[in-house]
């Protein structure tokens, strides 16, 4: 699938809509992946699928249909279904036509790597077999996935907007373990050339071995050193809560907080679609993405807002463009450890869930490596623990930040948070 073909399909779907307003979103994903567990390949796939979502509206009612068959006959059938559903729908008090003509969409640089767009199977097999060899050499078991995704997306509307975007993603996510001793790494980039799997596999093997003979941590007050992976695990729950309408309706921790201090001065969160964590240039409605600061130095600056609520409340429409950046500083996780006298190093967080959305209280577990830190050195591993934390409160107590790293959708630093009571429930 090419971007030109995706735009053509979107435009034809809009034409088939046959209503006052129509918009279409086309998404093609080729997903090629090799999955492995216990030092063997367990899955190996290469699939491609296209999905078209057509939304029709008559000025007061609307409905959507999603389909995969892009032949003219199929589009006509789908459009007919959408019109039938629309005609049965009640008038929508929040009806919005598609965005007016002339929307300007940002260009996302370096989002596509030509080699990765071909999804070469030998690259995947080579990386996975290499990881397995390393794990076996260290007497460990490796499990994970090596995936290569090529995505093409396109938008068209009856108001005259046309847009497309193409991107690739190579992800190598793996665990090496023996008993309860484990370590984990996720490597993610647009191109194969930026996936340093050989170096990472040896590091992860050594980290896993160092994680043997875990003990219970000693109760007390500690600085917690979150590796970038743990920060990336935590942030989506914050981001998903940043909705202007739900805040205005009194449903979230952000209610009545716009422009106010709600966390520490060292906490800044933004989304730059053309930044180091690559985002998307438009959403499925055809709204352009923007470089936005959500929280600046602890003060709530922006919330995501759909077009209806934006018009009603005098805001600009704004959405989370599949990327997040947390402002960092200089230095690595190791540098932060060196400056810590009494701390706990946390590599990864797991199974995070909301406990209370109104106060943004989350629960979860640690995973794949928790270590005591004393006088600037990583010492004995401790057992995984459950925590109940409010991230906005945690980030009030940031003691140090390191240099941000790419972790899939996020560009995040290692973070040291002081004054954390342990155990954490």
């Amino acid at each position: 699938m090419t971007a030109e073909r995706a735009v053509e399909i979107a435009a034809k779907a809009v034409e088939a809509g046959g209503t006052l307003h129509a918009s279409a979103f086309v998404s093609f994903d080729r997903v090629a992946s090799v999955r492995f567990g216990k030092n063997s390949i367990t899955q190996n796939q290469d699939t491609g699928s296209v999905s078209v979502t057509l939304t029709v509206g008559d000025g007061s009612r609307k409905a959507s249909v999603s389909f995969e068959d892009t032949t003219p006959e199929s589009m006509e059938r789908a459009a007919s279904k959408a019109r039938t559903l629309m005609e049965a729908s009640p008038a929508d008090p929040e009806y919005m036509p598609p965005p007016e003509e002339g929307q300007v969409y940002p260009f996302i640089s370096d989002s596509l790597d030509p080699e990765a767009a071909e999804c070469p199977v030998q690259r995947r097999i080579e990386a996975v077999k290499g990881l397995i060899d390393t794990a076996e050499g260290f007497g460990l078991e490796a499990g994970g996935i090596c995936s290569n995704v090529h995505t093409v997306m396109a938008h068209a509307s009856s108001t005259g907007n046309l847009a497309s975007h193409e991107k690739t993603a190579v992800t190598l996510s793996f665990t090496m373990d023996r008993g309860s001793a484990s370590s984990f790494r996720q490597l993610h980039h647009e191109s194969w050339g930026s996936i340093p799997w050989r170096e990472a596999s040896e590091q992860v093997a050594r980290e896993a071995l160092a994680n043997a003979d875990q003990r219970d941590g000693e109760p007390g007050e500690y600085s917690i050193i979150f590796e970038p992976q743990a920060v990336a695990d935590l942030l989506p729950f914050l981001a998903w809560s940043m909705d202007a309408r739900r805040a205005d309706e009194g449903l979230t921790v952000f209610s009545g907080m716009q422009g106010k201090q709600l966390s520490g001065q060292r906490f800044t969160l933004r989304s730059d679609p053309d930044g180091p964590a690559k985002g998307i240039p438009f959403n499925d409605e055809g709204v352009p993405s923007r470089d936005s600061v959500w929280i600046r130095n602890g003060t709530l600056e922006n919330l995501a807002c759909d077009r209806y609520w934006a018009a009603k409340t005098g805001r600009e429409p704004l959405f989370l463009p599949d990327c997040l950046e947390m402002k960092g500083d200089a230095g690595s996780t190791r540098d932060l450890i060196r400056k810590t006298t009494r701390g706990i190093l946390v590599r990864r967080l797991w199974y995070i869930r909301f406990v209370d959305q109104k106060t943004l209280l989350l629960t979860g577990m640690t995973r794949d490596g928790v270590f005591m830190v004393r006088d600037g050195r990583t010492e004995e591993p401790i057992r995984d623990f459950r925590w109940n934390w409010r991230p906005l409160e945690l980030f009030e107590r940031i003691e140090a930040l390191g240099a941000p790293e790419r972790k899939s959708y996020a560009f995040v630093p290692p973070v040291v948070v002081g004054g954390v009571k342990f155990p954490c429930v």
């Binding site: 249909v65 279904k81 097999i125």
Partner: protein, 478 residues
């Protein structure tokens, strides 16, 4: 057309000389209507059709998929599955549990086709339910939805199986969120989805749910917060469906025990040698897996390897019995067969080891929730599903709930909010000392069990009668 597509893929695989191959041709039609605060927030229909092909070459899997059933795309999917299997092949031999060729057609129970009910009637119901729920202005958010899907599948294999399945599921849902006193609390009413038609929507009586959701959301937002300490719990079937799913369903999946999920979903605290020996709970605890349960979401007739639906004990009299398996994992955990737990999210997903339907078997006839309540000195009654989290080995967990009532000296004292409890899997199930009889059995059809890489969602049904647990660590989140 589906049968021809599946058979053609098998012919191609055979001509390429695979050691095993199968093909699933599927069509799916979905309709979902979501009302938020009385307004149609999402009205969508979706049609998909395609073919997924698996091949084994040189001990390695390959999987390809095609959109639609055109000859060219079917051929390409089969050849792609073969080619990438070759790329991963080696000296290893893939051993699958033996299976005699299967033939037949399975249709799930369906009295009234939900797609024959007009969209207007469905939306009128949701609008009315929403309006009734939001009668009190302190209800700031109300979600009401109806979700229907029909899925037809033809499965064929190089071993001679050829089976067809035709399933329709229906799901109603209602949630009300009340805002008062600086807090926001929700109450959801649901029994989840069933393999059933419009008759399931009528039986659920969403109109009757509206007042209950509204009043119980208000009751909750105004309630005092949870006490803290060690106390007893009395849990209903909808609540237990989630606790069971996380602490019983997942750790008894064979692929986790074998380390195939070590990177994402995780492993299990169980080991292969724990079958028929590990103590999982008290002697009252019996978990019966049942992929023949007529309305159960995992009852497909045959799984995605053509293995028939089965019924077996996961846990019997408190002792772990055996894992849910697929054809590849059965022999690896000491079985000569598969329990038929191989299911894929859709035609373009590789089928993996999933949870079966299963229930906590009810207690002896005549036992009521009131009987269980009366000798609780201090405890909490919990209904419905709330916050949930568990470690990757499925031992250390924390659950919330949806409706909470304080129990003191065998009597209900009043509502609570922000209750969570924490325990460890065998300790928790070991503390079960009473289960109400079958009259109180409630099941929950789950549509969104996430697992696998790339991530897939799966469907299954769990249920229980009210059950009592002693001396559990209870507290509010701090």
């Amino acid at each position: 057309m589906m049968k021809q597509a599946a058979q053609r893929a098998i012919e191609i695989l055979e001509s390429l000389g695979v050691s095993y191959g199968d093909a699933r041709a599927e069509t799916a039609t979905m309709e979902k209507m979501v009302f938020r605060n009385g307004r149609l927030d999402q009205g969508i229909v979706r049609d998909t059709a395609g073919l997924g092909v698996r091949a084994v070459v040189g001990g390695a899997w390959g999987f390809g998929a095609s959109t639609g059933f055109g000859l060219e795309s079917v051929d390409a999917a089969a050849r792609r599955a073969f080619e990438i299997a070759v790329a991963a092949s080696g000296p290893a031999v893939k051993r699958l549990a033996p299976l005699a060729p299967q033939r037949g057609l399975y249709r799930g129970p369906l009295e009234k086709d939900p797609f024959s009910v007009s969209p207007g009637e469905k939306m009128a119901l949701l609008e009315q339910v929403s309006r009734e729920t939001m009668k009190d202005q302190r209800i700031r958010e109300c979600y009401a939805w109806l979700w229907f899907e029909n899925r037809k599948r033809v499965f064929a294999s190089t071993e001679g199986s050829l089976v067809e399945t035709d399933l329709t599921f229906s799901e109603p849902f209602l949630m009300a969120t009340a805002v008062a006193g600086g807090d926001a609390q929700s109450r959801s009413l649901q029994d989840g989805a069933r393999i059933a038609g419009w008759e399931w929507i009528e039986k659920c009586d969403m109109k009757g749910w509206a007042e209950k959701a509204r009043e119980e959301a208000l009751e909750k937002v105004l309630a005092p917060e949870s006490p803290e300490g060690v106390m007893d719990l009395l849990l209903d079937g909808i609540h237990l469906s989630l606790t069971m799913h996380e602490s019983v369903g997942h750790p008894t999946e064979s692929d986790r025990v074998l380390g195939w999920e070590s990177n994402m979903a995780g492993r299990s605290f169980l080991e292969v040698g724990d079958q028929r020996s590990a103590v999982y709970g008290s002697h009252l605890v019996n978990f019966m897996a049942d992929n023949t349960l007529s309305y159960g979401l995992a009852s497909w007739g045959w799984d995605d390897e053509g293995v028939p639906g089965q019924k077996w004990h996961l846990v019997r009299n408190g002792v772990f019995q055996e894992f849910g398996t697929v054809r590849e994992t059965g022999p690896l955990v000491g079985r000569t067969y598969s329990r038929g737990c191989c299911r894929a999210m859709d035609y373009s997903s590789f089928p993996i080891n999933r949870q079966p339907n299963f229930i906590l078997e009810p207690g002896p006839e005549g036992v009521t929730p009131e009987d269980l309540l009366k000798d609780m000195k201090l405890g909490v009654m919990i209904e419905g599903r709330g916050s949930f989290s568990i470690d990757q080995r499925r031992l250390n967990f924390q659950f919330g709930g949806d409706r909470f009532q304080l129990v003191r000296n065998g009597r209900i004292e009043g509502p609570l909010k922000k209750v969570i409890y924490r325990s460890q899997t065998p300790r928790f199930w070991g503390s079960c000392d009473g289960i109400a009889d079958a009259r109180w059995l409630r099941t929950m059809g789950v549509l969104n069990c996430g697992k696998g890489e790339p991530a897939q969602s799966a469907r299954m049904t769990h249920g229980a009668s009210w059950a009592r647990f002693r001396n559990v660590n209870v507290g509010g989140g701090k």
